[in-house]
């Protein structure tokens, strides 16, 4: 693969929680402008994988390179400033703050007022539903709106790479579809690369270019999402009717 097009390269990532091994020798890479997905069952290590990229969880071994620079071991706030933001599992908006304040916190690292304004307008045009609810407390939003807010908040950090942890969690099929359409839109319009972690293998395979399958902390399969979708073991394990 062309090195210059590479955004992030993760090599040999191993993470333990005390005696529990959560990730084992994981290799994943993502190109600029790409959407990749990581699918797996409960406890496969998906969230751990994203938390390790953001610096919240420290890896025991391995390296994480962002545009050729190792970011493994940096504090989470440093990593955000390098252009990696995340929408955590369960969204975790600040419930007692207004929608506007939540978005402002997403832009905490920005010094440039014009950029902040541009991103704010971008978020509101991408998620018009937030526009009408700017003053409302985030805790009173519906699940889908909270997901949009969490994504908007992450976009406010001006990311090169956006990490999404189970965006479909707890949402109806219709809202899930809407969210995934917006994920594609963000990727297309702004060229933001996206790592999508999902239990909903259908949606993940449908909306990503490449997919990694995680089982018990190990990558057991990887490839073009279209090809993975047709694999028998995947159909049996993740797409079964």
């Amino acid at each position: 693969m062309d090195k210059r097009n590479m955004l992030m390269q993760i090599r040999g990532l191993t993470v333990n929680y005390g005696a529990i091994n959560a990730l084992n020798d994981v290799f994943i890479d993502i190109e600029k402008g790409e959407i990749i997905s990581v699918i797996g069952a409960n406890g496969a290590g998906k969230s751990t994988f994203l938390k390790t990229i953001t610096g919240i969880v420290k890896a025991r071994a391995g390296s994480i390179e962002l545009e050729g620079k190792n970011i493994h071991g940096l504090r989470p706030d440093r990593i955000v400033r390098l252009g990696v933001t995340m929408v955590p599992e369960g969204r975790r908006v600040f419930p007692d703050l207004s929608v506007k304040e939540n978005l402002e916190l997403g832009g905490y690292t920005l010094r440039n007022g014009a950029l902040k304004k541009e991103l704010f307008d971008l978020v509101l045009s991408t998620f018009p539903r937030l526009q009408e609810r700017l003053k409302q407390h985030a805790g009173t939003l519906s699940g889908g709106e909270q997901q949009m807010l969490a994504m908007g908040r992450a976009l406010m950090g001006n990311p090169k790479l956006l990490l999404l942890d189970e965006p479909s969690m707890g949402l109806s099929p219709i809202i899930t579809r809407e969210i995934f359409t917006l994920i594609r839109l963000i990727n297309r319009e702004r060229g933001i690369s996206i790592i999508l972690v999902e239990q909903n293998a259908h949606m993940a395979l449908e909306h990503s270019r490449r997919t990694y399958v995680l089982e018990n902390g190990r990558i057991v399969m990887e490839g073009k999402s279209g090809e993975i979708k047709g694999t028998k073991s995947i159909i049996d394990a993740y797409l079964g009717v």
Partner: protein, 296 residues
């Protein structure tokens, strides 16, 4: 008329004590907010504030506003060091380790400073920085000390409010107290925010120490123990982690204490505070303004 005047007078005295408790309670509640820790050494920072002011006033004849500023910087520095040395190495450790460490820091400060070479364990007379003046307002009197206490507390609260709700640093403090992990994902430096919160809390406790020294001019290395506990109860009463709860709680505790001394007996003045704690824990453990109970 007589009784109204007496009631009002006690109320003013209660506000005076309550203001000091409110200043201390803020530190407990803010530190709890960002670290989920009851910083038992906080009462001792209040004590340090009184001692630093004592030295500034008695050894250097400097204006009172400078006493406040220098003392606040000193206690903030001590707060910073305590956090760095004692609590920061324990990030991610079980809560109980932090709590035990806090008790250890408190005992260390009290007994180390009570050494004869340092502050000694004796009571020391706190020098009055100015002559006491009584203003007779017919129904009750106020002293210039009380005016100083109310003015200082008022200014401190306004500045704190502006800091927390109007500055970027304050926004970071609030975010960290809501959800530390997500705050980090917003690009907030968690350790720096925690340090800063300790410093602000310690500066306020320092102000409380000076005011207490001026109002009740006997100081001692153990003087922080009871006000510390009562202010902690004030913070719990208002809802731990909630800024305005600590202020209201502080005033309620101060007024209760003074009223019990005035109308019952000063023997019960400490006891009643524990009765309040008992009732809060029984009836509304999350405090007056608390919404949910945080797991510690």
């Amino acid at each position: 008329m007589e009784i109204t005047g007496y009631l009002l007078q006690q109320f003013i005295n209660g506000l005076q004590l309550g203001a000091v408790y409110a200043l201390i309670a803020l530190g407990y509640t803010m530190v709890y907010g960002v670290l989920r820790l009851i910083n038992f050494a906080h009462g001792d920072i209040f004590m340090l504030g009184a001692f630093i002011a004592y030295y500034l006033i008695s050894k250097f004849a400097i204006p009172i506003y400078l006493v406040f500023i220098i003392t606040m910087f000193c206690t903030a520095g001590v707060g910073y060091i305590i956090e760095k040395v004692a609590y920061k190495p324990l990030r991610g450790a079980p809560k109980i380790s932090l709590l035990i460490t806090a008790v250890g820091v408190s005992l260390f400060l009290e007994y180390f400073l009570s050494l004869n070479a340092i502050f000694t364990a004796n009571y020391i007379g706190f020098p009055r920085p100015f002559e006491v003046v009584n203003y007779d307002l017919s129904l009750f009197t106020v002293t210039n000390i009380q005016i100083l206490i109310f003015a200082t507390t008022g200014v401190s609260l306004v500045l704190l409010y502006l800091l927390i709700y109007r500055t970027k640093q304050g926004k970071a403090m609030r975010a960290v107290s809501y959800d530390q992990e997500v705050a980090a994902l917003m690009g907030i430096n968690i350790d720096r925010t925690i340090s800063f919160t300790f410093m602000v809390g310690a500066a306020l406790a320092g102000v409380g120490g000076i005011l207490y020294g001026i109002a009740y001019p006997q100081i001692n290395v153990f003087m922080g123990v009871m006000p510390g506990i009562k202010s902690f109860i004030a913070a719990v009463l208002g809802g731990i982690g909630i800024i305005h709860g600590a202020v209201i709680g502080g005033f309620i505790i101060g007024i209760s204490e003074v009223f019990v001394s005035a109308f019952l007996s000063s023997t019960f003045r400490d006891g009643v505070i524990f009765v309040i704690l008992f009732l809060v824990l029984l009836l509304k453990p999350s405090g007056i303004f608390g919404k949910r109970i945080e797991k510690v």
